[in-house]
Symmetry: C2
Subunit: 352 residues, 2 copies
Amino acid sequence: MKTSPDTANTTQRADKKEQRRLQMADIARLAGVSTSTVSRALSGSKLVNDETKTRIAELAKSLNYSINIGAQNLRLKQSRTIAVVIPSDSATRQHLTDPFFLGMLGSLADALTERGFDMLVSRVDAEQLDSVSQIYDTGRASGIILIGQWRHHDQLNELALRQVPLVVWGAQLPKQLYVTVGSDNINGGKLATRHLLDQGRRAIAFFGDIQLPEVSQRYQGYCAALSEAGLPVREELVVAASFVEDGGKQAVAELCARQVKFDALFACSDLLAMTAINSLRERDFSVPADVAVVGYDDIELARYFHPPLTTIRQPMPVAGLALVDALLQQIDTHASQAFLLDTELIIRRSSQ
Amino acid sequence: MKTSPDTANTTQRADKKEQRRLQMADIARLAGVSTSTVSRALSGSKLVNDETKTRIAELAKSLNYSINIGAQNLRLKQSRTIAVVIPSDSATRQHLTDPFFLGMLGSLADALTERGFDMLVSRVDAEQLDSVSQIYDTGRASGIILIGQWRHHDQLNELALRQVPLVVWGAQLPKQLYVTVGSDNINGGKLATRHLLDQGRRAIAFFGDIQLPEVSQRYQGYCAALSEAGLPVREELVVAASFVEDGGKQAVAELCARQVKFDALFACSDLLAMTAINSLRERDFSVPADVAVVGYDDIELARYFHPPLTTIRQPMPVAGLALVDALLQQIDTHASQAFLLDTELIIRRSSQ
DNA sequence: TTGAAAGCGCTAACAT
DNA sequence: ATGTTAGCGCTTTCAA
């Protein structure tokens, strides 16, 4: 039988036993009240005498006591925790390194703090996205924000079917059962392309993997802008560049191998744009003189690049809040809507 | 901001009836056994019949049941959660945007997953670092990893005094009560400076805020390398550049205002190096011809910069594991040691 | 205004 | 090999 630690017990120096953590019963005893009163006092209930309330609050503070959140959550059947999940490619494990996703994490951290939620971050193998529901099923988090839609449309639909409260950063697709928050990719693509057209460029290359929903919409914007200007979409200018590794380098190589003339480039991420610019430079193209370049994301380093990168900014600070609020609303009301954020063209030297 | 035009985008559940979450008792009833048996079966106890064990496991799987972690943790008096804290400047809120810290988050996510812990991420106002202990006192996390020692030495010591299990990424200082894991900044500074000396440079500027422990050690390395080469440390070449904003730009301005000749630059972060290089370029210095530059951190973009940045790499993948293991050991044994990771010179074009 | 008692969902002695 | 029972630390009826 285990005796509860008691004041009469001698504590030995060699004794490695955890000094028992203070709990509500201790505060109650020291204040000469019941735990109910302590609980009420600390939660600011008006059922308790003001004088006792402050006495208890001070006692707690002086002893460095804080309510055990695990127990509180169990009792209240809540968790006040949201999980942020970033699918990671099992092979490269590279996704969490993209500056864009990382910026998003910061924005989410702020938004969740503001709403009084804790943020649990986990990387999940992209091939096992269904394991995401565990985070919810176990009560670890009351909902899930997933950053990185990639090609997981079907798996995400399955999650939604399982009633997991879920909001995804990405593009809206047909037959979509889950809720997305994202920026206006179509317009982003238009803005970028129009800007290049305004600079007098006519042979605008497009770098991006059209299989990805967001990129596909940026491509739609690209096509729309060309069409507005009365220009055809020339397939030989479109390269399926991937986001990983030296995507830009490979894409430039591919484009050059095609022997096609081009005087501008719209790359679907800043990273892609930067590696592309470096490759262009190696091949003695000058940016922006020979090739005007526009990127996408406006990561922090875009302005420090040489030349400073013209790009499409996604509104990060708003993005976090939008994701969080969409999720909280879904948890509350079991219904919420897709939400589209404005994109903005940031003009710097790489395109002028 | 617009709401999306699509029709099918509202996820609704007409049925608002709370479907009670499945719990162990339900599984027990359905399996015709007691909850103890279910508990044991799911935890793989050998006390339970193999046949029953698989029966229960399958039942649970088919019903999508997972153990409620909150209740489990309460009962087991554990949390299997580690908090990762990033102090944020109350004014700028900029710290979580430094690519280096963000890379660290990724590394920690991997390391914690590997050790079976959840990662709670929170941004805490740098002026109220003592509030960090709440995360521990409330039982929310069993320990804390703090990224960003900055000038908070005293506050960190106080936290350690309060018995909060804590490991800090940073430099080891005298009279330090908390445990640090960090890279070998002194050697990093030496490697960078020696490399510049090897390139024949003799007037090497140093950019960094020596008030910060890590930077101070890099500066020590810088001094040591100069001294090895029989050169004096020239104060007019040392600029107290800050990490934030256009730190590099200001530092270059300051240096030029001093009218001192320099042919190399060691900047204490890659971001600093990059902004400095851009400023140098504006002033018609060529890099590396006129000024050879070495940065610090080896963030992902360093290799994509123009010119590709020579830098000191801190071993990120190892860093996460080292931090986590130091913390877990501290939680287990109430003792752990500071740990120093090797730094490595990565030579690229900016210095040659 | 306060206290007693029940129980959140689980685990682990202690029985059988 | 399985069931009974007593909590983990808290909140909240219900009773006083």
